[in-house]
Amino acid sequence: MMNMIRADMYRIIRGKGMYITFAVLIVLNILVIGQGLHVGINYGYMQDSVGVEAPNLYNSWHSAATVLYNNMNSIIFFLLPIVIMSAGAMFANRTVKNDIAWGMSRTRLYLSKLLLAVGLSVILVVFYMLSGMIIAIILRGFDGSVPSGYWQNLFQTVGSQLLVMLGATSLGIFMVFTFKRSSAVIAAYIALCLIPSMIIMMLSETVAPGIIRLMDFDLMFSIVRLGSFSQLDTHVILSALGVGAAYIAVCTIGGIALFKRAEIK
């Protein structure tokens, strides 16, 4: 399995996709940190629903972390190129048949692609945070001091958000192995990330207010919520983390089961 991951890294490094993804991420960070843009955040809703205060826009380099946490949900879309580079390429180029015909078990093939995508997702999130902080330091200067508990909060927040992000990565890999076509994966992934929360919010405001509880199972909402990690109750944190873990487990088990039965074209 490690050989498979190493081979895919060899291929990815020689492609343009990874570099373009990271370059776009830097541009997004420059916009978010530099211009104070907030992508995809509804602070009013955050305040109303979970009692979280909108972040104080930063006046020092370390305040940028709060902005980065709260924009983490936009990073979920950067996982798309990651899963397509990791697993989609083998379906797009139809090289999957070389791997299966050579005697690679379907379970190992699936897991190797998932592990690769998970690894790249971790790198992506770390890069997002680091590049954001560096941009903030460049813009605001580095005074060396941080509030007490700053680093602990940073690791807890990003760590918990990362777990939910990996749920999204698992979902993406599941979609790649199920649909096999990148265009279908992109459409389904974006739809599944955006549409359920929109429908739930719309219905909760018009038809049944109680339906808002379903937001607890939404990946995007879980990531946004965990952005205020230090202000959340333990059960809210566990619930959000449970969503990520459930996505990882269900998508991986379901994806392997489906792929084991699939015809390889």
Binding site: A7, Y10, R14, W102, G103, S105
Partner: protein
């Protein structure tokens, strides 16, 4: 020793059998030709062997292994190019091979150059796979298949789309790989094409295995001969040998002899035999061309 053995292998699509109870054996050292029209079931059969499709019933034994996990492991001793070669379009020939070298855990980096040299693709430089011609694609696909020094190679219509020079080169390559000790299963819709390289053949039609034969049996089937039907084959044989100087002949039944030596004037045979009091019931040229034989075989199945 059998490399591949299938027993009653069956695969259906929408109720229609694409491979129907196919049982065949490929022995070590064989160049086994699988012949059939487009849609006959050759590719489906190969897809079942390589695990790209799951059989509905039947058994596959590869290097003696039949248990699923061991069968999967046995496939690492196999190389294959099924349908069109598929490689990463944005990588060069060397990069594609390097990818598979790493993936298959081949420590010897020189295998990449060796495989490229074997298929005569050492000079493609920075040209990416997407810019390769059909012939180059076929050859690079074959290079990937032989990269891990397989014992068994499955090639699905390797000469498809190649120009005459490419076909000759591919044929030479198949012979060379066989001389290196690789057992091959090669499919084609042209018997005449396979007849130049294979030593065993199986004719498949509508998913069913119609005939399995060796090169000698095929030659026998397609041999041009003069068939003579007489009332006394023993005496006729003596006359053929002593009077007409025939040495290459065979008695195929109680009343028929087949003469494989070239006889320019068949009426001379009739005359001599009649002169010796042997009644000649029939005399005719027999034997098919490869294509006639193939057409007759599949025609008889319809």
């Amino acid at each position: 020793m059998s490399i591949l053995k299938t027993q009653n292998l069956t695969k259906r699509y929408g109720g229609r059998p694409a491979v129907d109870n196919v049982s065949l054996t490929v022995e070590k050292g064989d160049i086994f030709g699988l012949i059939g029209q487009n849609g006959a079931g050759k590719t489906t059969f190969m897809r079942l062997i390589t695990s790209l499709s799951r059989p509905d019933s039947g058994e596959i034994s590869l290097f003696g292994e039949t248990e699923p996990a061991r069968l999967t492991a046995a496939r690492t001793r196999m190389g294959s190019v099924i349908e069109a070669p598929a490689l990463f379009e944005n990588l060069t020939a060397v990069q594609n091979l390097e990818y598979y070298r790493i993936q298959r855990g081949i420590a010897d980096k020189s295998r990449v150059d060796e495989a490229l040299k074997t298929v005569s693709l050492t000079d493609t430089g920075k040209k990416k796979f997407k810019n390769f011609s059909l012939g180059m694609r076929q050859r690079l696909g074959l290079a990937v298949a032989i990269l891990s020094n397989p014992d068994f190679l499955i090639l699905d219509e390797p000469t498809n789309g190649l120009d005459p020079t490419g076909i000759i080169e591919m044929r030479d390559l198949i012979r060379r790989l066989s001389e290196e000790g690789i057992t091959l299963l090669v499919s084609s819709h042209l018997l005449s094409e396979l007849a130049q390289v294979a030593n065993k053949y199986a004719i498949i039609h509508n998913g069913r295995l119609l005939k399995s034969l060796t090169q000698e049996e095929l030659q026998e089937e397609c041999k041009q001969a003069l068939s003579i039907t007489v009332d006394d084959v023993d005496r006729a044989a003596v006359i053929l040998e002593t009077v007409l100087g025939v040495s290459n002949y065979k008695q195929v039944s109680g009343s028929e002899l087949r003469v494989y030596d070239k006889i320019s004037d068949p009426s001379e045979v009739t005359f001599r035999l009649s002169q010796e009091g042997i009644r000649v019931a029939a005399i005719k040229e027999v034997g098919d061309s490869l294509e006639d034989y193939y057409t007759k075989t599949i025609g008889g199945a319809e």
